[in-house]
C-alpha cells in the first residue's frame, strides 16, 4: 500500500472510531443519567447525584467510550491535519440521523435531511484533500 493510501486508510479508521466512540459515549451517559434520575439543584441533591453516578456502571461505560474518543482524536491529529479531522468528525451528526430513522423509525424533517446531505457532501469534499499538509512538527 502506498504512503498516501496508508495515510488515508488509517485516518479514515481513526475518524470512524472517533464517531462510534463519541456516539456510544453520549448514548451511555444519557442512559446512565436516566437511571440516576433528575438531579435536584441543592447541595444534598448534587452530592446524591454525584454518588449515584459514581456507582452507575452505564456511566462508567460512557466515560470509557469518551476516553476512547479522546485517544482516537489525539492519535488522528498526530499525523493528520486538524482541518481534515475536525470536519470529518461531523459525520457523526449524519450517522445519528440515519440511525434514528433505521433503528428508532423516527420521522425526520426535510430540513434535517438537507443538513445530513450537506454534512456528507462536505465530509466527502474534505476527504478528497490530502490528509496531511504540514511537516510533523510545526511552530505556531
Amino acid at each position: 500500500m502506498s504512503h498516501e493510501r496508508r495515510l488515508r486508510f488509517k485516518t479514515l479508521v481513526m475518524v470512524l472510531l472517533m464517531v462510534v466512540c463519541a456516539n456510544l459515549g453520549d448514548l451511555m451517559l444519557k442512559r446512565g443519567m436516566l437511571e440516576v434520575g433528575a438531579v435536584e439543584m441543592t447541595a444534598s441533591g448534587i452530592w446524591h447525584a454525584l454518588l449515584s453516578t459514581m456507582h452507575n456502571g452505564t456511566i462508567w461505560l460512557g466515560i470509557l467510550f469518551l476516553i476512547g474518543f479522546t485517544f482516537c482524536y489525539m492519535t488522528a491529529v498526530s499525523w493528520a491535519d486538524y482541518s481534515y479531522v475536525m470536519p470529518a468528525g461531523a459525520f457523526g451528526y449524519a450517522l445519528q440521523t440515519m440511525l434514528a430513522v433505521v433503528i428508532l423509525h423516527e420521522a425526520v424533517s426535510p430540513r434535517r435531511w438537507l443538513g445530513v446531505v450537506l454534512i456528507v457532501v462536505g465530509v466527502l469534499l474534505v476527504g478528497q484533500t490530502h490528509p496531511s499538509t504540514t511537516p510533523k512538527a510545526v511552530t505556531p
Binding site: M74, Y82, A90, Y93, R111, I119, L125, A137, P140
Partner: protein
C-alpha cells in the same frame, strides 16, 4: 445580550484554542510506532508529558462548561449556529497557527459541514 456575546467569544476561543493546542502538541509527540499495547502506552506517556496537551485540556474543559452556560442563557437558535461556526474559526486557526494548507475544496467542505450541522441540530 452582552453577557451572551462575551460568553460566545470565550467559548469559540477556548474550543478552537484548545483543539489547536492539542493538535500542535500531538504533532510534536508524533504518531504511535505501532498499535501494539506497549507502543500505545509509550505514545500515551509521551502525550502526557507534552506541555501543549496540558495547556489544551483546561481550555477544552472551559469550552465545555461555557457551552453549558450558553445553553442555559440563550436560545438554541443562537447557540447552535455559533458553535457550528467553530468549524470555520478552527480552519482559520489551522491555516494561520498550524500552517496547514487549506485548498478551496477543503474550504468548501468545511462551509458545507458548518451549514449542515446547523440545520441538523436546529431541527
Amino acid at each position: 445580550m452582552t453577557r451572551v456575546i462575551v460568553m460566545l467569544v470565550f467559548f469559540i476561543c477556548c474550543s478552537t484554542g484548545g483543539e489547536i493546542a492539542m493538535t500542535h502538541g500531538m504533532k510534536q509527540v508524533g504518531e504511535p510506532e505501532s498499535f501494539r499495547p506497549r507502543a500505545i502506552l509509550r505514545f500515551i506517556g509521551k502525550a502526557m508529558r507534552s506541555g501543549w496537551v496540558w495547556f489544551a485540556l483546561p481550555l477544552l474543559a472551559a469550552s465545555f462548561y461555557s457551552l453549558l452556560a450558553l445553553l442555559s442563557w440563550a436560545p438554541l437558535s443562537v447557540v447552535i449556529p455559533a458553535s457550528a461556526f467553530n468549524y470555520v474559526v478552527g480552519t482559520f486557526g489551522a491555516k494561520y497557527l498550524l500552517r496547514e494548507q487549506i485548498s478551496p475544496k477543503r474550504w468548501m467542505g468545511v462551509a458545507m459541514v458548518c451549514l449542515g450541522v446547523t440545520l441538523v441540530l436546529l431541527t
